[in-house]
């Protein structure tokens, strides 16, 4: 789909900011509940409204969604008309919870693992979390849930990548994805400790490329996609590409724990409305903030700062706008993880010298 959908295909619901862990890289800044988090009734009413609009898919995020006592009440309502993807740390998954998730027919359960051993994983996520997560995954698999692992690559775990993949294989999950840190929430506070430098990113990309060759489609990663891009020849007939990397504002949108409507979970500053006070469908169609956000996708990638002279403008879709905004405060800044952009290189030079 290239045009803006009449209503979103997928809506991300951040059920709560509450979390039982306190991960260094948490871009949602999960931990304590925020003021005015939505009640059970708020979520149920909203989910029923989304069903009337024929929103197809709900992705449940947090915080840790399973920490809510009403989690299954909300998900049961969603499953009457929609599919559900669940993002969880799995530490709260007991055998009984795994069975309930299985019975509800959750499409995919995405579990976070950031290390192949307790020493590495728990350095980021807190003591004792590794064992609980592994047990949670085992329970989910025992009850035939579809499980994928999501791993965030940081300075703490980047030398453990292949071991993490081997662990995922041993566990028997469907696949594993490696993402970079989103520079927002606690990831911003703990940046020096966790966000790899561009030089370390090169090592990470090389390692993931190698692991990707070995394990094939079992391993997915933004880093591998970026390597493919960097290794691709420019398209001599392609002209300059438009900015087009993601589906935020085109097919997807997110609701925060307090009901704010935002283009994506990593752009919680760009509040387009609140489901308690605004009509969601009208916000989707008429929000000036969303209109401005969508107008980005009409721009050529050469409109992005530092991208004008890049040899890949015919094939590069311009990277993540949320990351650009979080790092540089502008939606037309470069994706901070592009290793070719001169603005990023200058930033890294300063970082190294500090």
């Amino acid at each position: 789909m290239t045009k803006i959908s009449r209503v979103p295909i997928t809506v991300f619901l951040e059920l709560t900011k509450r979390c039982n862990l306190n991960c260094l890289h948490c871009c949602a800044d999960g931990g304590q509940a925020r003021p005015e988090e939505l009640s059970t009734e708020d979520w149920i009413d909203f989910v029923r409204y989304l069903a009337k609009l024929k929103v197809f898919r709900i992705v449940i995020t947090g915080g840790e969604p399973l920490i809510r006592n009403d989690f299954f009440t909300i998900v049961r309502e969603i499953r009457k008309n929609q599919s559900v993807v669940l993002n969880t740390n799995a530490t709260l998954v007991t055998d009984k919870i795994a069975q309930q998730l299985s019975q509800l027919g959750i499409s995919v359960i995405s579990v976070s693992i950031d290390g192949s051993t307790p020493e590495i994983h728990d350095r980021n996520r807190g003591s004792g979390s590794f064992i609980k997560t592994i047990k949670g995954i085992e329970s989910l698999l025992k009850h035939n849930c579809r499980v994928v692992i999501n791993s965030v690559v940081t300075r703490i775990n980047y030398q453990d990548i292949e071991n993490i993949v081997a662990l995922a294989k041993r566990l028997g999950v469907e696949k594993i994805g490696f993402n970079h840190v989103h520079p927002t929430g606690r990831a911003r506070t703990n940046k020096e400790q966790i966000v790899p430098s561009l030089e370390e990113d090169t090592t990470i990309a090389d390692e993931l490329w190698k692991v990707g060759q070995k394990y094939g489609a079992f391993v997915g990663s933004w880093y591998i996609d970026q390597m493919k891009l960097y290794n691709s020849p420019p398209n001599p007939h392609g002209g300059i590409r438009s900015i087009s990397r993601c589906s935020a504002g085109k097919e997807t949108i997110a609701i925060t724990a307090n009901g704010d409507i935002v283009p994506c979970n990593n752009l919680q500053e760009l509040v387009c409305g609140n489901i308690r006070r605004s009509d969601f469908a009208r916000v989707w169609q008429y929000s000036s903030i969303l209109a401005e956000f969508r107008s980005l996708f009409k721009l050529k990638v050469t409109s992005l700062e530092g991208c004008q002279d890049c040899h890949l403008v015919s094939i590069c879709p311009g990277g993540c706008r949320a990351n650009a905004y979080q790092e540089y405060g502008s939606l037309t800044a470069p994706d901070p993880f592009c290793r070719l952009n001169p603005i990023n290189i200058e930033r890294e030079c300063k970082r190294v010298h500090i």
């Binding site: 295909i9 898919r57 027919g105």
Partner: protein
């Protein structure tokens, strides 16, 4: 009785500018139908046989040979069936 198709009970449909979206809420599968696809889809109601669907299309597209139409419709329906967007149905025909 003759063979036809019904819409899978887990399917939600939605009109968009680019066509009709079919979504299976249990398999998480989405398919976009164009105009021709939607015309076939509309007749997957448990009341039309495959031959009747082909005949409907033949009226809309008289320039296309019947054999081609029949083969294309059957292939299309098999794809929708394999993706759990349709279920087989026995259609009562008038001579039954």
């Amino acid at each position: 009785m003759a063979r036809g198709y019904s819409i899978h009970p887990s399917i939600i449909t939605r009109e968009e500018e680019e066509g009709t979206l079919l979504f299976n809420k249990d398999t998480d599968d989405i398919k976009l139908l164009n105009q021709v696809g939607f015309l076939i889809w509309k007749h997957c109601d448990g009341a039309h046989t495959i031959d009747q669907i082909v005949e409907t299309l033949a009226i809309q597209y008289p320039e296309v040979p019947m054999d081609t139409l029949r083969s294309d419709v059957k292939s299309f329906l098999e794809i929708l069936l394999s993706r759990k967007l349709l279920v087989p149905a026995e259609v009562r025909i008038e001579n039954d």
